[in-house]
Symmetry: C2
Subunit: 111 residues, 2 copies
């Protein structure tokens, strides 16, 4: 385990926080399914305001999960897969540590 791992845990919190909202998860799912889209298009079909969607996109962007590029009068938003991979790796790490902790515990009990 490298020292970098520990700092990566701290980095992960904002990522999970950004994903921890139903509306934002829907946005992410929508982007995943439909590819890059504008804000108004992402707003279509939701009961929310464009501003609300904008705010959510901002949160996702701050977490690095999404990126918006202004093109003409509209801005197209797309997923940033690498950041998903970070969260992915974090979950892996915790699970693996837990496994070894349990086996260590089990062994200790048996002896």
């Amino acid at each position: 385990m490298t020292p970098g791992d520990a700092s990566r845990l701290d980095v992960s919190a904002p990522i999970f926080a950004a994903l921890g909202d139903a509306t934002r998860l829907k946005l992410v799912a929508r982007l995943g399914r439909g590819g890059p889209q504008s804000i108004t298009r992402l707003t279509r079909g939701t009961p929310l305001t464009r501003q609300a969607i904008t705010k959510h996109l901002r949160v996702l962007a701050d977490a690095g999960l999404v990126r918006g590029v202004r093109r003409g009068r509209e801005s197209r938003w797309e997923l940033e897969p690498e950041q998903f991979a970070v969260a992915h790796r974090y979950l892996d790490l915790v699970s693996k540590r837990w496994d070894t902790a349990l086996s260590r515990l089990k062994k200790h009990v048996e002896e």
Copy 2:
């Protein structure tokens, strides 16, 4: 469990939300590293109150990420790996859909 289960937002959102807090991530990391532990032990080393830790554990438990078992006068808390797997699968699903969306888009542009 089918991929469809993982794609259900109402299930995944609370999980991510629970992980979206630095203190709770530390708790999870601590449990992963050290195995099952009591509340007071988990509180040790943090600047927080035992009650604060209790609340955080409650949040994690509601998301199914953690489980507490009362044993005598103390309650031991441990990770619930399956729930981590749910989040894991969700991330996979989104990433894969994004890939196919992009390749579809690229192909469309090239034609």
